[in-house]
């Protein structure tokens, strides 16, 4: 698997509110390739188009031009729920990844069906429950003993950990993480970061992770890209990334864009 081209984005162009005074080019002729096993971290200022990029890969929105090719299949016009058979996603908002009125095991059962057609079988069976329990142990949060608890009762950190597990335990071809630690307090964010690292390694997932935290972007993954104004303005491969520091990244950004860091840019640290 290692080395095969898993995701290919060709000349992706997306504009919002086209032809109005609010027109906004979110992605501008963006190209990106992910090989199997890649773990790419994505940084960039607010409004750079990072979330739009994730949404275009997942099929939540469609590009105006350009192709999304996953595992050799052109998926540019395939609806989100069909692509989801190959894609796992965790959102920034811990409330977004789970169903609050349903129990932990029911949520896992929903996620379990990502790769299989849904039938009139029971979603939670004895066998699956054992499997879910085993998977939850990876999180070390004791959730395996609370299978029948409603997810709405969990803390933000617990919900995000569960979302991460739900997105990954069925081994998607591609894992998309969009600032999935940004809404958490520092301790919880560290926990989720650590779990992310462990889970990506354990399941050997090809991953694209957006983060606001430069240090996190440097600590995780084998490649790094920096986005601005809908384009990738800087890329570091495995060797280059190892030599990078937060200071170097900031000066790189300044050099390329030739702008002093606004207060917004400072958020990047």
């Amino acid at each position: 698997m290692e080395g095969t081209r898993l995701l290919q984005l060709n000349q992706i162009y997306k504009v919002f509110y086209e032809g109005t005074p609010d027109e906004k080019i979110a992605l501008n002729q963006l190209n990106l390739q992910l090989n199997a096993g890649d773990f790419v971290t994505v940084i960039g200022s607010n409004g750079a188009g990072k979330s739009t990029l994730m949404n275009i890969i997942s099929g939540n929105i469609f590009p105006d031009h350009g192709h999304v090719v996953i595992n050799g299949t052109n998926m540019s016009s395939m609806p989100e729920h069909k692509r989801a058979k190959r894609i796992g996603r965790v959102f920034q908002n811990p409330l977004a990844g789970t169903a609050p009125t349903m129990t932990i095991e029911e949520n896992l059962a929903l996620a379990y069906n990502r790769t299989k057609p849904r039938t009139l079988q029971f979603g939670v069976t004895k066998k699956r429950r054992d499997f879910f329990r085993e998977q939850l142990e990876i999180l070390h949060l004791g959730l395996e003993d609370r299978l029948q608890a409603k997810v709405g009762l969990l803390s933000g950190g617990e919900r995000q950990a569960l979302s991460l597990l739900m997105a990954t335990f069925t081994k998607p071809d591609i894992l998309l993480l969009d600032e999935h630690t940004a809404a958490l307090d520092p301790a919880r964010a560290d926990l989720i970061t650590k779990l992310t690292k462990e889970i990506v390694e354990k399941f050997q997932l090809t991953t694209l992770m957006v983060t606001h935290n430069m240090q996190q972007a440097l600590d995780l993954g084998n490649r790094l890209i920096m986005m601005d104004k809908g384009q990738i303005i800087f890329e570091a491969n495995e060797q280059e990334k190892m030599a990078l520091t937060v200071e170097k990244l900031l000066s790189e950004f300044q050099r390329i864009r030739g702008e002093a860091l606004s207060s917004d840019r400072a958020l990047l640290v």
Partner: protein
């Protein structure tokens, strides 16, 4: 009095099936579906027309259920494919169904009193069992001889049917499809990211919800002995009233409990209306108004109670804090006096 109350429980059990449908759309799918007012009649109309033309009542009732399923699916398609908002999709279907129901019946009212219906079949089968005379003896012996309902058969059979349907709904909501249906109402974006076709699920869910509503309509038409084009007016509010009253009394912690709450809510609703109509100055025509008031009460009162609770909790806390700081002040004073 007893006869009137018994009658309302009997009717409540039949309407409970409709309320289960409303529960599915309103609570499970989070879709306030107004199709109900039309699909209830569609069920009654379809069954009535078929019964009059000689089809067996069981088949006719099943056909009514099927017609309701189609109506619900149409609402779902208007919403998901036509991108029309939920309330408007329901209203459009409701209005369209009014004409469709008239077409099905070919006139505003079809009497069934002279026909063989599910109800007449149940009654004659039941009389063969001799349970009614048993109950009569029982009630007479405890001095309730005046309060004997004509038959227990319809009540008994409808109660069993309603419970079977409740159980089926409970089980269905635990299947893989059922789970994803619940998740659509809970977090649509999330189920889609787990490869569920949420459009199709909404269509299916609304189809099932309106199938139950139409089944209830088909049974009510046979129970009342006629199908009328106006018999669905306000049905959605009655369904909502049942769901809300049931939740207030029984709660909705689990699915099994929530569906039980709907059944009990539907019966309680009928009892409340029956009792309200006994008040001197109220007339039958006031029923819709009473229903609306019940729903408003059921919606507003729990909120007021919560608010009151929160208020008194805050007050208590403030008092505790006040007391604590007062104590603190005393301690400082005491410490000073020690000096």
């Amino acid at each position: 009095m007893f006869t009137a109350l018994f009658g309302s429980v009997e009717v409540g059990v039949i309407y409970a099936i409709m309320a289960l449908g409303v529960y599915l759309s309103f609570r499970i799918l989070d879709f306030p579906d107004l199709t109900v007012d039309g699909s209830f009649v569609t069920g009654g109309a379809t069954a009535a027309v078929l019964i009059v033309s000689g089809v067996s009542p069981v088949l006719a009732t099943a056909a009514g259920l099927g017609a309701g399923f189609l109506a619900g699916c149409m609402t779902g398609i208007l919403n998901t494919k036509g991108k029309i908002n939920p309330i408007l999709s329901g209203i459009l279907m409701m209005i369209a169904l009014y004409s469709i129901n008239l077409r099905i019946m070919d006139k505003p009212n079809i009497p069934l009193l002279a026909e063989e219906t599910l109800m007449t079949q149940i009654t004659s089968w039941w009389q063969g069992l001799g349970i009614d005379s048993l109950m009569e003896g029982l009630l007479s012996s405890v001095g309730l001889g005046n309060f004997i309902p004509a038959t227990w058969g319809i009540f008994g059979v409808m109660l069993v049917l309603t419970f079977v349907i409740k159980k089926l709904v409970d089980l269905f909501l635990k299947t893989e499809i059922g789970l994803s249906l619940r998740a659509v109402g809970d977090n649509t974006g999330m189920v889609r990211s787990f490869s569920a076709n949420t459009d199709w699920l909404k269509v299916l869910g609304l189809g099932i919800a309106n199938a139950l509503v139409a089944l209830s309509g088909a049974l009510v038409a046979q129970y009342n002995g006629f199908s009328d084009v106006g018999m669905g007016i306000g049905m959605i509010v009655i369904g909502l009233a049942s769901v809300i009253i049931g939740e207030a009394v029984i709660g909705n912690a689990t699915i099994v409990r929530a569906t039980l709450a709907v059944l009990i809510g539907a019966i309680l609703y009928r009892l409340i209306v029956t009792l309200a109509l006994r008040v001197e100055f109220l007339e039958t025509g006031d029923m819709k108004l009473i229903t609306a008031i019940i729903v408003i009460f059921a919606l507003v009162v729990p909120k007021l109670v919560d608010k009151q609770k929160a208020k008194s909790r805050k007050k208590k806390r403030a008092e505790q804090l006040g007391a604590a700081s007062a104590n603190g002040g005393n301690q400082v004073a005491a410490a000073k006096s020690d000096l």
